[in-house]
Each structure stands twice: as C-alpha cells, then as structure tokens.
C-alpha cells in the first residue's frame, strides 16, 4: 500500500510541476507577454489594449501573488475565462474532454487487440512470411505520420469508396450506430502508431520469455502448449509491453490533436487550436494543463497495472 501512496504522491508532484511550468512559460518569454500576445506580423499593438490585457491576465501584480492565485484557481477548478468570448475555460474542457478520452480509449483498445495477438504470433513463427510481413507493416505504420494516415483514410474511405462519413460527431445517446461509424476512422488513425509499437514490443518480449528457464519448467510440468503460452509466456511478456505503452502515451495524446483536427472530432483540440491561433492564452493554458495532467494520470494508471502484473515491483 505504501508503494501506491508514494506513486500517487509523485503524480501529484508532477502535476504541480507541470502547472508551475505552464504558469512560468508566459513570464519566461523575453519582453512584455501582453504585447507579445497582441502583436501580429510585426505591427506594434495598441498600448491601450496592451494595458487592458495586462490587467486581465493579472500581469501587474507581483509574481508571487500571481502564482498563488493561479495555483489556487487550479485547485478550485477555476481556470479563468477565454479572452475571445469570456466563456469559462473549465466548462469548455468538461464538455470536450470525454470525447477526447473516448478517442484515446478506442485507439488504445485497437492497438492492444491487434498488436498483442499479432506480436505473439510473429514471435512464435519467427522468420515466417507472417512475421516478415507484419514486421514490415509495423515499420511502415511507425513511419507514416498520424495526420497522413488520417488524411489518407478520409481520402480512401470517404472520398473514393464513400463507405463512411469524412468526419464529424454525433452523441452516442442520439444515434449509437452513427456515433460508432464516426468514431471508427479517427480511432484507427490514433491506434495506428500504437499498434506498431505494441506489436514490436510484444514480439520482442515474447521471444525473450520463450527462452526463459521458467518456460522450460512449465513445459517440464507437462502443461499444454496453450497454457504455457498464456500463463507463462504472454503473461510475463505483457509487463514490458505495458512499460512501452506508458512511454508512448505522450505521442498518443499529441496525436489526438492532429486526428481530431483531420476528422472534425469535437474534442479538446478544436478549442485548443482555435485558441492558439487567436493567442487566447487562458484557454491554451487550461487545455495544455488538462492534457498534461491526463498524461501524468495515464502513466500512474499504467504503473498501477504494472504493479498488479509484476509482484516484484510492489516490494521494491
């Protein structure tokens, strides 16, 4: 139990660090941040507007006071309001976060459902046609950027074959079937890189597990091949796969920004991109903070699952 508590403590610490960095970022930029945010194309902004923005962002207060009020805002769930339309940042996030989470979950599910069996099979049939083709496909999938995959999926399935809509979103409650069709392509795009990563890691760690002494022991016990495979090979091989999955969470979360853009999926990235373009600083900070906290949280979950799978960790 102590280990879990410590791990959660570390996660909270990380979230605090992330929040502080996000807060400091605006102050680390040389020059007046308000002026910077309002400037475009080298034209000096209106001094009145700059003064007003400084006031809005509280930039006139002492740094320590700004920091405290920022942090207390974060803790209370008050992330300020949009510079563009005064809409509370938190409300926007709460509306859109579930949609982004759904996309991530669907992508990860595809990656695990395809990557682990394929990786295991490729390891068992090392050097076979299947192994070579699957490894080649994995290398290709790793190389194609996520937005290229997304765009090509739209081109093929929506434009040429006309099997699926090019993008959009319908709430699950309204039309479940259409919701799922609209989810399919973005989830595939999100899952593509992860599938390749999971496949490669599963293949390598199954190969490693197969050569372990305890697998020989399992065979010496007279266990059936399927039981040796599931309980002693795949079960042990999953542990490193999970570590790698955790390492790629950042890429996954970054990928959602691009995929949501390509497929018009109204997750967090739409307001994020709009805000970045409009230099809507509170909105950007709120969303970046949310996604980074999500990143830390996902890593925490991975670690906990990891500990559940590997008893050696819990005592370390």
């Amino acid at each position: 139990m102590g280990w879990v508590a410590r791990r959660i403590g570390v996660s909270l610490l990380l979230v605090w660090i992330v929040a502080s960095i996000v807060f400091l970022a605006i102050h680390l930029v040389p020059g007046d941040p308000a002026e910077l945010l309002l400037s475009s194309g080298g034209v000096a902004p209106d001094p009145g507007a700059v003064a007003e923005l400084r006031d809005r962002l509280g930039l006139n207060l002492p740094l320590a006071q700004q920091y405290v009020s920022f942090l207390s805002g974060v803790v209370r769930g008050d992330l300020g309001t949009s510079l563009v339309d005064e809409y509370p940042v938190l409300d926007e996030i709460l509306l859109r976060l579930p949609r982004t989470l759904e996309l991530i979950a669907a992508g990860a599910l595809i990656a695990v459902l395809v990557g682990i069996p394929a990786g295991t099979l490729a390891a068992l049939r090392r050097g076979s046609a299947f192994d070579r083709i699957a490894s080649g496909v994995a290398a290709l999938l790793l190389a194609v950027p996520v937005f290229v995959v997304g765009t090509l999926l739209v081109l093929v399935f929506a434009q040429i074959l006309r099997w699926m809509p090019a993008g959009g979103y319908v709430p699950l409650a309204e039309d479940p079937w259409r919701h799922l069709t609209l989810l399919a392509l973005p989830a595939l795009a999100i899952g593509k890189g992860l599938v390749a990563v999971v496949f490669r890691m599963t293949r390598a760690s199954v190969l490693d597990a197969l050569s372990r002494d305890f697998v020989r022991t399992a065979r010496a016990k007279g266990l059936s091949p399927s039981r040796v495979l599931m309980r002693h090979v795949v079960r042990n091989a999953l542990i490193p796969v999970l570590t790698v999955l955790a390492l790629h969470m950042g890429t996954l979360l970054g990928g959602t920004v691009l995929v949501e853009y390509v497929f018009n999926w109204p997750g967090l990235s739409t307001p994020l991109l709009r805000a970045v373009e409009a230099r809507d600083y509170p909105m950007v900070v709120g969303i970046v903070l949310t996604i980074s906290a999500l990143f830390v949280l996902l890593n925490l979950v991975m670690d906990l699952v990891y500990a559940a799978l590997d008893p050696r960790i819990r005592h370390a």
């Binding site: 081109l155 920004v257 970045v276 970046v288």
Partner: protein, 623 residues
C-alpha cells in the same frame, strides 16, 4: 559482407539522397516553388512540371524538393542544438554529480511531463508560428534524450580503469571529458541524433499541417498536405505526393536509426536463425528394440545421438550415449561442462532447444520410446511419470505467480477433475513434505520472497507432485550456498528412498556423486567414457579421464591436480579418442580410430583402447 551491413547502407543511402536533393534544391533549375499561376490551377503533368501544379498553380515537384529543404533544415537545426547543449549538460551532470547533476539531469524530467505536441502549441501561442519557434521548441524537446545518454555514458566511463588512470595522472576534468569520454559517447549520441532528426521531421510536418509550423507560402510537406485536403476530391494525387515523400523520408530515417542502434549494440545484431519454436517435428528413425535383459529399468537410453544445426553445419554434442536406471536407484551422470550431460537429460525430457534434435538412438520409459513419442503424449509423461529439477531455481520459477499456484498447476495438468482448492491444499502438503516451514503462508509467496534453498525445495515439490517414476536433477545444488547444498541432497535421497523412484543426478562434482549415487556414468565430449557402480569406479577407475577427475578432487592429503587442457568443442571433435589431447597415456593408435565402449566386468564399461594395459601397469607400480 555481414548481414547487418546491408541493413545499414540501404537506408543510409536513401537518407543521403534525400538530404542531397534538399541541399542542391537551388541548383536543380526547378521552377520557383512559391510563384503562383492561377490559370494553371490543379493542372496535371505538363512540360516543366512533371507532377503538375497545386491549388495556386505552383509547381508540385519543385515544392516537394524545397519542402524537404525546410523540413530537414528545421529538423537538423533543432537536433544539432539539442545535441550540443544536451551533451554538455550530460557531461557536466555526470562528472560533477551533486547539485549540477540534479539540475542538469532531473530538470530534464520536467520536459518529459508534457506531451510533445502540447508543449509546442504552448510555445507557439506565446511566440507565434514560424521556423524559428519550431526550432526552439524542438531543441528543448530533444534535450533530455541527449542529456540522459551522455550522463549514463559518463557515469559508466568514470568507473572505467583508463579514466581512473588519467585522472590519477592529474589530467583536468575538461581534458578527460573531451579526450576520453566524448569518443565513447559518440556512438550513442549518433543514434540519439538520428532519432531526434526523424522525430523532428514528424513533429514539424504535423505542426505545419495544423497551420502552426512553417508559415505559408514557404513550401513544407505538412503545409502541402494541409492545402491538398481542400481539393482532395478533384486532385487526390496532390495529396499523395507529399504524403509519400514524408512517409518515405521517415521510414528511411527510422530504418537507419534501427540499423545504427543494432550496429552500436552487438547483442541485437547477431544473425538470427529462422526457427519455428513450437511446431517442431521429430524425425522418424527406426528405433532399436529395448534391451530384453534388463526389463525392470525405469529408463533405458540406447545409442542416443543429438544433432544441433549451427551456421557452421551440424554438430553432435551427444553421441551414442547409453545407460539405464532402475527403480529406487540413483544414477549420477558426471562430467565437465561441455561434456553433453545436460543435453542428454533435456533430450530425454523432450525439452531440447528447437535447433537441436535427437537423430539416433532411443530412450525407453514404461515401454515407450520418448524420442519418438508425439508431443501430446510426451507432455502427459513430463511432470507425470518423469520430472526434472533444474540448476537455477530463481530463473526456473515464474516470477509473477505464487509458488503455490505454480505447484497446483503441475498437479492439475495431470489430474482431471482436481479442483483448484484441492490442488492448492495438495501443494501445501508438498511444501511441508519438502521441509518448508509454515507451508500455508509460504504457498502464497512469490519466488523473489524466498531464499535460494527454499526455491529449490519448491522446484522439487513441483517435480514430485505427481509421484514420478523418474526424477532427473540437473545440477540442482550448483547455484546454492554450500550449507544448503547438503540439505537439498539429503531431501532428494530421502524422497527417492520413500517413493522408490529412479533418480538421475547430473553433476560435475565427484564429491556429490560419492554422497548420493549408486552408479555413475562418466561423460566426456559427448560420449560415455566409463560406467559402473560408484564403489568400483571410485575404487578402481579404468579410464584415464576418470583417474584424472578423481585425482583432481581435493580429499585431504592430495592437492587438487586439475586436468590440463579443455574439453574440445563439438565442431572440433577429433576422429580418434576425444581425450587424447589431454591423456598422459596417449599413443598414436589412440588418435587413429574412435575407441569402442568395451565391457569391463559386471556392469562396467570403458571407452579406452589401453585400459587393461594401463590398469596392469598401475597394479605393478603399486606392487
């Protein structure tokens, strides 16, 4: 040419070609990539524009090549900056430790708290889009990779003797770092650099695609894809070209990274034999009939020969090995490492590695030839009628399952209808039987929570769980403390006495043989060289190798003599007597032809053409 070399040069050539094209873009006489010509909007291939024109009538080929230029410029610039600062930070952190270490290395963890795209977007919000912003963000993102690699390398270099030596000579820190540490770090840094460049190309194109990277109208692959999306229906090719260029570039870079990493790490670069691990078929040679003279033998091995396919051709680590073991008897197989004793045992169990297979002989257990039994039937025997205990109990137990479960699993694999609860309580009984105190609690423990001796007791409990007729113990005490060794030997002897099972004990230690075994088989270089009852063989060894082994045992008054030379490798076995090179009695006749295994009295055999002669001489000398 090594197989790895091709893997390195093909992608390297491709990457070099792309870089060269980008560098030479101004010299190629391409049309201006930003000049618009609305009249030629979305025009197909035409003279001067082999790939046609884009949505503003700009030349596509020219934009592709110039796009490579901007992508690669951003990628190389950011990777170089990250490389420079990261290496310096890593060097300082690794060398000075303390606060410097904390600042240089731990601060990098902060960067890793952010998903990369998000950090980039945050900075773009503040500074506005553009190549300069991109380079800055990307160099920050790749900094941690370089810091970590360099830091780790410096730490390991610090402990190397040569660095210690120059340090002792009074060289300054700066001098040591640049002269001795940097060259060692070069390899990993190169790998890291190629990873950073590949990843920067991906991120740059992604941000440009979002309209937040390279600013239009400058050509960039990401921007081209962004632009072509709008006209996807009319001109799908416009979309395909930049996608293809981008994917190909990243693929080549990834392959180069993999190849570089393999080249730096020789462990992964070894040629991998193509083998199927599970569906291995045994060859169907006609088995010799079981020996009718000794029907009560539990296991009878005759003429066993094992062949391993290696890149240098097949080798035979075990050749023509025969022995028998009876109920309630302990047979020791003794020999130096490389003598083939473990291969013999694993082939009896049907657990040979996939590259190895028995090519001749037979192994009879309960009237069935183990070498030719189909895998499903063999599986019923393994862990049932025959069981095995391995050398290293730590690696032989699965670290992620409770030991009670691992024993219960062995029981349930062989007894239908046994519930998990019944199997568990039987597992607890077995743990008690092998002398583990508090077995109820211990059954719930994981292997890493036990001592080495306790783990080996668990292995033994697992092996005897289904009352085997034959137990093979392969060096079961070698990995254990001396004090524990004796306890494990006692346990095995006791179990054998109680259950009447046959025990094959594989060891390199003659002391252990004397303690536990009734009969002994001495193996050398894949062959049996002498066989007989323990008192007889120890009392009057016939083969020069057995004599040498016995002489090498420290038994109080004689110092261990050791046997000069080493066991020959299987691919270099001599034609004649395999011991000839180390034998004090070797004659030219010994090397001419392989000596046969001769009978030498009741239950004794020996493989030496001069055994009688040598024996007589010894007797004379004593008299």
């Amino acid at each position: 040419m090594r197989p790895g070399t091709k893997r390195l040069w093909v992608p390297a050539g491709l990457v070099a070609l792309i870089v060269l094209l980008a560098l030479l873009a101004p010299l190629l006489g391409l049309p201006d990539p930003v000049r618009q010509d609305v009249a030629q909007r979305l025009a197909g291939p035409m003279p001067g524009s082999p790939l046609g024109r884009d949505e503003f009538g700009r030349d596509v080929l020219s934009r592709l090549i110039w796009g490579a230029r901007s992508s690669l410029a951003v990628a190389f610039a950011s990777a170089s900056i990250a490389c420079l600062f990261g290496t310096i930070l890593g060097l300082l952190g690794g060398w000075f430790r303390g606060l410097g270490e904390f600042l240089a290395v731990r601060s990098m963890d902060i960067v890793l708290c952010f998903p990369p795209v998000l950090l980039a977007l945050l900075v773009v919000t503040l500074l506005g889009p553009g190549a300069g912003t991109l380079i800055m963000v990307l160099s920050v993102l790749y900094l941690p990779g370089f810091v970590r690699v360099t830091y780790a390398e410096v730490l390991s270099a610090r402990s190397h003797d040569y660095v210690e030596a120059v340090r002792a000579l009074g060289a300054s820190a700066g001098r040591i770092l640049t002269r001795t540490v940097l060259p060692n770090v070069a390899g990993p840094i190169l790998v890291q650099f190629s990873l950073a460049v590949a990843s920067a190309v991906v991120l740059e194109s992604g941000l440009s695609f979002l309209g937040l990277g390279v600013v239009p109208p400058a050509p960039s692959w990401g921007l081209m894809i962004r632009g072509a999306r709008a006209t996807m229906a009319q001109a799908p090719l416009l979309l395909l070209w930049p996608c293809l260029a981008l994917t190909l570039t990243i693929l080549a870079m990834n392959l180069l990274c993999d190849a570089l990493r393999d080249a730096m790490d020789p462990r992964t670069a070894t040629a991998r034999p193509r083998l199927r691990l599970l569906d291995r078929v045994l060859p169907g040679l006609v088995p010799p009939a079981p020996n009718a003279e000794a029907p009560e033998a539990v296991l009878e091995v005759g003429g066993l020969t094992v062949e391993i396919a290696t890149p240098r051709g097949p080798i035979r680590p075990v050749e023509d090995v025969s022995f028998a073991v009876h109920a309630g008897e302990t047979l020791a197989i003794v020999g130096e490492s490389g003598s083939g004793k473990s291969v013999t045992a694993t082939s009896v169990m049907g657990l040979l590695p996939p590259a190895a297979r028995p090519v001749a002989g037979a192994a009879w257990l309960e009237g069935r030839d183990l070498l030719r039994l189909p895998e499903p039937e063999l599986r019923r025997l393994r862990g049932g009628a025959m069981a095995m205990v391995f050398q290293d109990p730590m690696s032989s137990l699965n670290p992620v399952h409770r030991v009670g479960d691992q024993i219960a699993e062995a029981i349930r694999a062989h007894r239908r209808g046994v519930t998990q609860a019944q199997a568990w309580s039987r597992a607890v009984d077995l743990l008690r039987r092998v002398g583990i105190a508090d077995p109820e609690r211990r059954a719930r423990a994981y292997p890493h929570e036990m001592s080495g001796g306790m783990r080996q007791r668990v292995m033994i409990a697992m092996a005897v769980a289904n009352e085997p007729k034959l137990l093979i113990a392969d060096e079961p005490t070698t990995a254990l403390d001396v004090t524990v060794q004796a306890q494990i030997l006692d346990l095995l002897a006791e179990l054998r006495r109680e259950t009447g099972m046959a025990l094959i004990f594989i060891t390199h230690s003659l002391g252990v043989v004397a303690e536990i075994a009734d009969r002994v088989v001495v193996m050398y270089a894949g062959q049996v060289v002498e066989q007989g009852s323990v008192p007889e063989v120890f009392g009057a060894p016939l083969h020069p190798y057995t004599r040498a082994l016995l002489a090498a045992v420290p038994d109080g008054d004689t110092a261990p003599a050791g046997i000069p030379g080493v066991v020959p490798q299987p691919h270099a076995f001599p034609v004649g007597c395999r011991f000839a090179a180390r034998c004090p009695h070797a004659k030219p006749a010994c090397e001419a032809a392989p000596p046969a295994l001769e009978g030498a009295g009741e239950g004794r055999t020996v493989r030496c053409i001069r055994w009688a002669e040598i024996g007589a001489k010894k007797a004379e000398a004593v008299a």
